[in-house]
Symmetry: C2
Subunit: 415 residues, 2 copies
């Protein structure tokens, strides 16, 4: 394990690794969900945690230059103090690093309105396998000179290059936010609400979903006192000008109430934080209940959410695997948790069959097998279900172009 402090260190390490044929695994905080930062046999771990500075806040041009080891939540707080806004907010935002976010193209609840990490990366300084330092992208909001290598690196899961500096786009901080909690006694009604809100041409900044099992898991550790007959909840936020968002929130509440929901509005920051705490604790609570569970990250077109939820219930019944679902319903992104012990051979076999069936239905509805967690190790065996041979061949060709000796994060993405 090495802890570089400068770009030059990273270049020296990459040169050494290249000359000695040692695989290198770049690592931020290790919070990723698909094993991208997990070293496989004989690898050197390149921890970026000491390269964690905010180098330049460019207030005149709404950009910020950071080192990859900076924590997402720290960056958010620092720019918010100046009235700026960095939207991508993965649930692990208080621990995960921007470098890891870039490697995985991290999303988060606000992706619905504001997009994902990819939409904010303007420039990357990176070290290539072999040790060459490259500067990619532009610091302006437009630029079309040559191929877009910046966005090729975003989401490449540390397999093509090691980012050493990252320039991100910022937005002005929205004036105000309204948070709504809507409780449904019927699961499909919650799915329907998502689809109706989107069709009503309202773009909330978040539209989060938790099913009964997810709620129960959180209630165990962080009780909100929700009624036992709640089958699903939606946590919805609209932001923008104070004058208009109350009206928008009212429209959202109307849609949910017409579908039988009980809607509550968070009136202050304390109430808002309490609602969000519930959402943020889902993942840790589920690990607490079932430490070796499997976590999937499917996405379907947003209007297919009700159909997908019905299919998940059927697959759970058919395979006998307990499923807990939550996620970013507004994006069609559902985190499906298989509550099994994946180290138990019997259970793993059953779970694998369930996963394959879930992916089959997802892809049949026009979806994808990973919305924001990446492929890493855990989804590599399934990538062929979504990406065909010729397309995969192009990706492998790109990998080979950047990393002909297969030094950088080998064994990830490609089966």
């Amino acid at each position: 394990m090495v802890w570089p402090e400068t770009t030059k260190h990273v270049a020296q390490i990459m040169k050494y690794a290249d000359e000695n044929g040692i695989p290198v695994v770049p690592r931020g905080a290790g919070t990723g969900m698909s094993g991208g930062a997990v070293p496989l046999g004989g690898s050197m771990v390149l921890s970026m945690e000491k390269m964690n500075r905010l180098l330049e806040l460019d207030t005149g041009n709404l950009t910020v230059l950071v080192e990859p080891g900076i924590i997402n939540g720290r960056l958010q707080r620092e720019v918010e103090e100046h009235g700026f806004f960095y939207p991508p907010d993965p649930a692990s935002m208080n621990f995960c690093t921007i470098g890891g976010n870039v490697a995985e193209n991290a999303g988060g609840p606000r992706a619905l309105k504001y997009g994902v990490t990819r939409d904010y990366v303007m420039q990357i300084e990176a070290v290539l396998p072999g040790g060459d330092i490259v500067n990619l992208g532009v610091r302006t909001h437009k630029g079309v000179v040559g191929y877009d290598i910046v966005r090729l690196l975003v989401g490449s899961e540390g397999t093509l290059a090691v980012a050493t500096k990252i320039r991100l786009k910022l937005l002005p901080l929205p004036e105000d936010v309204v948070t709504l909690l809507c409780l449904f006694t019927d699961l499909e009604a919650a799915g329907m609400a998502v689809s109706r809100i989107v069709s009503a041409k309202i773009v909330p900044r978040t539209l989060e979903f938790m099913d009964r099992e997810a709620i129960k898991a959180v209630e165990k550790f962080n009780p909100l006192g929700l009624a036992d007959d709640v089958e699903a909840l939606l946590l919805i936020e609209v932001d923008g000008h104070a004058e208009t968002i109350k009206k928008e929130a009212g429209k959202v509440a109307d849609i949910c109430m017409k579908l039988g929901a009980d809607a509550r509005m968070a009136e202050d920051d304390a109430a808002r934080n309490r609602l969000w705490e519930c959402r943020r604790r889902v993942s840790p609570s589920l690990y607490h209940l079932c430490p070796r569970k499997m976590s999937e990250d499917i996405v379907v077109p947003r209007d297919m959410i009700p159909q997908m939820l019905t299919s998940l219930r059927r697959i759970s019944e058919d395979t006998g695997v307990r499923l807990v679902n939550y996620g970013h319903a507004g994006d069609g992104n559902i985190h499906v948790n298989l509550m099994v012990d994946r180290t138990d051979e019997e259970e793993y076999k059953k779970a694998d069959a369930a996963v394959r069936e879930i992916f089959k239905v997802t892809l049949g509805l026009g979806g994808t097998i990973s919305g924001e967690h990446g492929v890493g190790i855990t989804k590599a065996p399934y990538i062929g279900m979504e990406v065909k041979q010729r397309e995969l061949g192009l990706m492998k060709g790109i990998k080979n172009l950047f990393d002909p000796k297969n030094i950088l994060n080998p064994g990830k993405i490609f089966p």
Copy 2:
């Protein structure tokens, strides 16, 4: 010249071209500004104009699937009828095709708030050199399975693959728009206004700029009756909820008036269209005045606009080349027109020296030599000023991976 009507036709043509070593130049409407669609010696032109259908408007999921030959303006009108919005609006929107927009990563006035073509492309069906058909990207708003080849194709200027189907993201149509025309008697004050509006955390949807020479050129063909002492104008639009945009427009007008501007608000669609007509006619008017002019497309960080305008004036005086400037000031994107006859050897030499000086200053301010026009033929000799050897090597490697025989649009981008 061939006019395919289906993906299969394109695949057959590409296979034939590959087997016979015939270079292929994909072409939309040929409105590009850097020569990307211009065939060089011995090429077959692959016109996409007959593949111009809108295949599917997915209202539940806010996407639209089109063939590449569809005209941008037609697509905009068709989706607007259903209350949706496709923001990218190059000045040539009534003639240019979506396929060409994707190839060049086209921008336009609304890029300031809404981003460029890249930000709207979700899926591409494409034919590779050799004739293989590939399907890239996802139809959902998130997806991180494998490398992002979709965004590698966007802006690749027809050198990697031929798009045959394109799925685009749509937004809800904004409720209302206010248009402001601000006239300045001082050029630097106009540049300052741009920077102050951005710093005030207002994001107009457009913030267009024209200097005195550009205004004079348009006045000749489409008189608006602007006073002779107007040195620059800003055409500014804010959109959103009716209640809030009047207030925002008021703030923008205040900023401009404090810098000595005369501000006029367009009260209705007719007035708005008249103002825009003036902006849209700049480029044709300049060609009318000087048919063999050279057009540049620089971008600087937005707060460097005043400094860049001062430098352009100096370069014009130093080199004796008449410059006319207009463009998307909010993005820092200035279309610099060199009013020379580029076929005259003497004039070209002077102009080339001016261009190199303009690019040097632009890059020194942290800018780029092309914001939305691409590299094509005209900027290929200068690409080395911005992109270094190692980075260019990666791009050439990607070109070689997709197109090992250099069949597709050879002679473009790379010098």
